[in-house]
Amino acid sequence: MAEYILSDELREAVQVAEITMRPLLLKGEPGTGKTLLANFVAETRNLPLFRWHVKSTSLAKEGLYFYDAVARLNDSRFPEEEAMIRVREVKNYIRLGALGESFSLPQRSVVLIDEIDKADIEFPNDLLLELDKMEFFIPETKELISARERPLIIITSNNEKELPDAFLRRCIFHYIEFPKRDAMKEIILSHYPRINSELMEKALAMFYTIRKIESLRKKPSTSELLDWIQVLLHTGETLSSNQIPFAGTLFKSEEDYRVYLN
C-alpha cells in the first residue's frame, strides 16, 4: 500500500478521540480515505487492528460475540469423545466479534466499524451501552467481557442513513474534506513518485475542472483520479490536447459522460 497522507485536521481528530475516549465518526465523500485511516493509525502505532465491515444484514450483536449453536447441536449428535467434551462447555461455542476481541485483549487496539450506515436504522442504538462502557455481557456463559484498555474506535459512514442522536452524542465527529490541490499532489506523488510534473499538473487541472461541473451525478474522486493517472502513465498519454483520454475511468455513469461531452 502506498503511503497514507494524514492531514493535520485528521490527526487532531484522532487526538481528540483519544483524549475523550470516544469513538471517532468519520464522514466524507467516497475516496477520501475514511477506511484507510484505521489501518494507518494501527500501523504507525503498532497496535492490533480489528475490522468490522457492516452489511445491510449485520446485527449489533455480531460485533460483540456469536453463539454458534448449530455447531454445538452438531457436536452433540456424534458420540466422539472429543466432541462430547467440547459440547459440555457453552464457552467453546462462543466466537468473539471485532469489538469482543478488542475488549478481551490486554493491550490497546484499534477497531474499525466500517460503513455503519449500511445496517438497519436501529443498529447504532444497539451499540450505545457497549461503546459507552466498553463492556458487554454474554448471557450464555454468564461472562462479562470488559475492556482492560479502551480501544480507539473508528467508525465510518457514507451518509446513507441518518444516525440516531443518542449515538452521535457519544462520538467525535469529523468530516473529511475533499483533498485540495496541494494535498492531492502529495497523494499522487506517494502513489507514482516518478510522475512527470507537467503531466501531473495537466491531469490535476482537468480533474478539478471536471469536479466543478455541478450537474454531475457522481463526481470523480481520488481513487478514480489515481486509476486515470495509472492509465495515462501506462499508455504514455501526454494530455496535449483538450480532449480527455480514457474518460471512462473518471465517469462512472453514462449520464455523466454525456454531461461531460456537452
Binding site: 487532531e12 481528530a13 475523550t20 436504522i121 442522536d165 490541490r181
Partner: protein
C-alpha cells in the same frame, strides 16, 4: 466563557448536551500548552469535533463560534457588507483619480498595486483576515467594470492555507444546511424514511431463527414466526412537467432520479401530466404511453402511495371545467371526447379517493400558494413544499404519523 459558547451553540439549534461539553472541556484541558494557551484554530476545530455531529450543523457551528469568540463579527454578513462597501468606495476613488492622470492601460497595474497595499493595511487592522479580504477584494472590481479575474488574489481552489478568522467567517458549510438545499442524495435519504412502514407483511416461519432457537433448546423444536420485514411499499410519482414547471425542472428531476435509484420498495412508478390531468396520465415525459385513469386504478393496489409533484398553478378553467387539454386533445377519438365530462379537480378527487394515501409536493415556496387553483388542490390532497423538510413531512403524512 465556554459555557456561553455551549449555550450559543444550543441557541443555533445544534443538538449538544452536557456529555459533549464535558468531553470538550476535557480535550481543551489536555490540548492547552503549559502556559494555558490554545490557538483559535485548535479551539475551533476541537469544538467542532465535539459538538457538531453532522456536516449539516457546521454552518450553525460557525455562526455560534464567531458569536462567542469574535465579538466584532457578531453578524458576519453585515461585517462582510461593511467591508465590501469600504472596498467599493476606496477603489472607486482610486480609479477615478488614476484615470484622470494616467492612460487607462497603465492604471490597471497601479490599481492592482494600490489594492494590494490597501489589503495589507486591512490585514493589520483586522489581525489575521488577510485571505478573507483577498477573496472578497475581487468583487468591487467586477462592479467597477474591470475584469475580476485579473485582480483575483489567491482565490483558486487549493491555493494557500486558510487560517485564522477566515475559517469560520467564510461560511463554507452553508450549502449543507438542510433547510436550504435539496439534492439527489438528501432526497434519497428522505425517501428512505418510507422504509419505516415495513410491518405490513404477513407472519411467516423464520427458518433461521427456528433452527437457532431449537439448537439453544438442545434439540427441542421451537417454532419462531415473525412478521414479514419486507417493504411492501408501492410508490407512484405523478409529475407535472412543462410550462410553469420548467423553472423547477432541476429539482423535480433530482427527485425523479432519486426515486429511480431506490431499490428498497416493492414498486416505484412514474407518470406525467401537464398542469392537471383529466382522464389520462402519460408514461413518459414526452407524453407517450397513455394510460387511462380507469386503467390506472385497476393496475395499482389501494394501498399504493401517490406522490403528485406540480406547482398546481394554471389557468382556473383548466382545473375547474371539463377538458380541453392541448397535449392530449388531438389524440382523442370523437367518442372519447363525448365521454369526457369530468373537470381536472374531479379527476383528482376521484383518484385520491381511490388511493387515500396521496400527497402533493409543490416546488413553489409556500408563501406563493395563494392562487385559486393551488388552494382548490390543497383541499383535495395534502400539499407540502418540495424541500427536504417538506418531503419529510409529506412522507410522515403518507405513513399516517
Amino acid at each position: 466563557m465556554f459555557l456561553d459558547f455551549f449555550y450559543n451553540l444550543r441557541g443555533e439549534s445544534i443538538p449538544c448536551s452536557t456529555g459533549e461539553l464535558i468531553a470538550f472541556l476535557q480535550t481543551i484541558r489536555s490540548l492547552t500548552d503549559p502556559k494555558g494557551y490554545i490557538s483559535m484554530e485548535t479551539l475551533y476545530r476541537v469544538g467542532r469535533l465535539n459538538f457538531a455531529k453532522d456536516i449539516k450543523y457546521f454552518d450553525a457551528y460557525d455562526l455560534g463560534f464567531s458569536k462567542t469568540f469574535a465579538g466584532f463579527q457578531e453578524n458576519k454578513i453585515q461585517f462582510r457588507d461593511v467591508l465590501f462597501d469600504w472596498l467599493d468606495k476606496n477603489i472607486d476613488k482610486l480609479i477615478s483619480e488614476d484615470q484622470k492622470d494616467k492612460a487607462p492601460n497603465l492604471s490597471m497595474e497601479d490599481v492592482f498595486q494600490e489594492l494590494e497595499k490597501r489589503l495589507r493595511e486591512q490585514k493589520e487592522r483586522h489581525d489575521g483576515g488577510n485571505k478573507w479580504v483577498g477573496t472578497s477584494g475581487t468583487s468591487p472590481f467586477g462592479n467597477s467594470g474591470f475584469n475580476p479575474n485579473g485582480l483575483k488574489i489567491g482565490g483558486e481552489e487549493g491555493a494557500g492555507n486558510r487560517t485564522g478568522v477566515s475559517l469560520w467567517t467564510e461560511r463554507n458549510y452553508k450549502a449543507y444546511r438542510e433547510d436550504e438545499v435539496i439534492d439527489t442524495r438528501s432526497i434519497q435519504i428522505a425517501l428512505k424514511e418510507l422504509r419505516f412502514l415495513k410491518k405490513e407483511g404477513r407472519t411467516s416461519l423464520n427458518i433461521n431463527k427456528t433452527i437457532d432457537k431449537t439448537c439453544e433448546n438442545a434439540g427441542e423444536i421451537e417454532i419462531i414466526e415473525e412478521k414479514n420485514r419486507k417493504n411492501a411499499l408501492r410508490l407512484v410519482l405523478i409529475l407535472d412537467i412543462g410550462g410553469s414547471m420548467t423553472p423547477h425542472s432541476d429539482r423535480v428531476s433530482k427527485l425523479f432520479s432519486a426515486s429511480k435509484s431506490l431499490y428498497h420498495f416493492k414498486e416505484v412508478h412514474n407518470f406525467f401530466f401537464h398542469n392537471i390531468f383529466h382522464d389520462y396520465l402519460f408514461e413518459t415525459h414526452e407524453f407517450e404511453g397513455r394510460i387511462s385513469l380507469k386503467h390506472f386504478e385497476d393496475r395499482f393496489r389501494k394501498n399504493t402511495k401517490l406522490v403528485f409533484v406540480g406547482d398546481a398553478y394554471m389557468a382556473p378553467y383548466e382545473l375547474f371545467s371539463a377538458p380541453y387539454n392541448p397535449y392530449s386533445y388531438h389524440r382523442e377519438t370523437e367518442e372519447e371526447k363525448l365521454r369526457k365530462k369530468k373537470s381536472g379537480i374531479e379527476s383528482l378527487k376521484e383518484l385520491t379517493e381511490k388511493f387515500p394515501d396521496s400527497v402533493w409536493l409543490n416546488p413553489e415556496p409556500k408563501r406563493f400558494w395563494g392562487a385559486p387553483t393551488i388552494e382548490a388542490i390543497q383541499e383535495v390532497v395534502p400539499m407540502f413544499p418540495l424541500t427536504i423538510e417538506g418531503l419529510r413531512k409529506a412522507i410522515r403524512s403518507l405513513l399516517g404519523k
